[in-house]
């Protein structure tokens, strides 16, 4: 770890490993950087090792805990004098930012991986919607008034969003809740369109891959996606996909000021 690396001498592979981890001393670092500019085989090794490191980091995405597990664990942290479980989510903006920062693991743009992610994301979105449909519990904030729902999320999420003044025909806001999508904090908005339940999930764009190729229809449900500069918006329901698209578009349109 302390040896220096003459220009004509290849560094030890173990040093290259420490190099990609940023664990070398300044003098070791300088020597290796100098060597790498002149030695193609070593540069290739470093590239290979760095790729392996990146791909190892991505492998962890397989085991992101489901949102309900995170909720249960978070509720365990709440001081016992707080009785209402929902209060677990009243922690401040800093906490969400920290969670987002930790979870925003470098996301690759490799196409096939996106496809795989897209399929996982579809499954997670459907799970979230089915949970809404099946749970007898009402959402944390119940209101048809956007002036009540929007402020409720403030300080609870590391991002903000707007709600449209006018919704598409026969579309009603029912309420909202906090949730996780792909391990990141998200807003869950509940709507009805012609009495069909619609879940809309808004999440920060960073850290969430584009989901080109996501099936539009899955198990009788449709998913519509819209993006703004900062947000991703997903709408899930069993209604006509065109109407679902209108709601997603209406939400997208009012985010322009972000």
């Amino acid at each position: 770890m302390t040896q220096t690396t003459p220009v004509n001498d290849h560094p030890e592979p173990i040093q290259l490993s420490a190099f990609i981890d940023g664990e070398l001393s300044p003098s070791e670092l300088q020597a290796i950087q100098r060597h790498l500019t002149e030695c193609h085989p070593c540069a290739l090794q470093v590239l290979s090792a760095a790729q392996l490191k990146a791909v190892t980091a991505r492998a962890s995405q397989r085991f992101l805990p489901p949102p309900e597990v995170l909720k249960r664990l978070a509720s365990q942290l709440v001081p016992q004098e707080t009785t209402k479980p929902a209060r677990a989510w009243s922690f401040g903006h800093w906490a969400w930012s920290a969670i987002a920062a930790v979870l925003a693991i470098a996301v690759s743009s490799i196409v096939w991986w996106q496809m795989r992610q897209a399929n996982n994301l579809t499954a997670e979105l459907l799970d979230q919607h089915l949970a809404v449909l099946s749970s007898g519990a009402s959402p944390e904030i119940i209101s048809t008034d956007r002036h009540t729902v929007k402020p409720w999320f403030q300080g609870k999420l590391p991002f903000s969003f707007n709600l449209p003044e006018t919704l598409p025909p026969d579309t009603t806001l029912r309420g909202g809740d906090l949730t996780f999508l792909r391990g990141q904090p998200a807003a869950l908005l509940l709507f009805t369109i012609h009495r069909h339940e619609v879940s809309v999930i808004l999440t920060q764009r960073s850290g969430n891959p584009a989901i080109t190729g996501m099936p539009v229809n899955s198990s009788g449900f449709s998913i519509k996606e819209a993006s703004t500069r900062n947000l991703r918006i997903f709408a899930v329901s069993d209604i006509d996909p065109t109407e679902l698209g209108s709601l997603a578009a209406a939400l997208q349109a009012v985010q322009s000021t972000q």
Partner: protein, 177 residues
């Protein structure tokens, strides 16, 4: 019962790590239910021991160490080769002396499934350290705290883990590399 100020400080430090702790617990135990139990137990132990945490030191390393010790004393770990996590020198010692290899090709790392399989086949102790380094992005000195080994061991074990992973992948892709 810890003081209120302590528990809210603990909450602030632990909340952002829930996802990391859970996924690392899963890698260790390979079981959803057990992973959640492990994290719950870790949180409650960590809260009780929070007085012993020194402000200014790395909380993540401190709580990951508690997670690891909790895992090592769990039924599953004891039943299944707990010792593989405690060996001084996990297998693959033969790979340390390999010099630079100019013939080395870039692996087809776009194949994430193959990498996942290779990670699964890796010695548990090597996989563990690689996850702490590459996924949890802990520095060598903090990994040394989690695993309770010298920093030199961390450096050589990470190197061996990568070499092992690389060899697993080479076997997977065979001569086409």
């Amino acid at each position: 019962m810890p003081r209120r100020t302590n528990s809210s400080e603990f909450e602030q430090l632990a909340l952002p790590l829930l996802s990391s702790l859970s996924s690392h617990a899963f890698w260790l135990s390979r079981n959803d239910t057990e992973a959640e139990d492990l994290v719950q137990e870790t949180l409650s132990k960590a809260l009780r021991a929070f007085d012993s945490f020194q402000a200014g030191t790395n909380f993540k390393a401190w709580i990951f160490r508690i997670l690891r010790n909790t895992f090592l004393t769990s039924r599953t770990a004891i039943a299944n080769a707990r010792t593989v996590f405690l060996e001084d020198d996990p297998g693959l010692s033969d790979i340390t002396d390999a010099g630079p290899n100019p013939e080395e090709h870039i692996l087809r790392l776009e194949n994430q499934a193959a990498v996942n399989d290779a990670l699964d086949r890796l010695h548990p102790q090597l996989r563990e350290i690689l996850l702490l380094c590459d996924v949890e992005e802990l520095k060598y000195k903090d990994i040394a705290i989690v695993l309770d080994v010298p920093i030199g061991t961390v450096m050589s074990r990470i190197f061996r883990a990568r070499r092992g992973l690389h060899q697993e992948l080479q076997q997977h892709f065979g001569e086409s590399l």
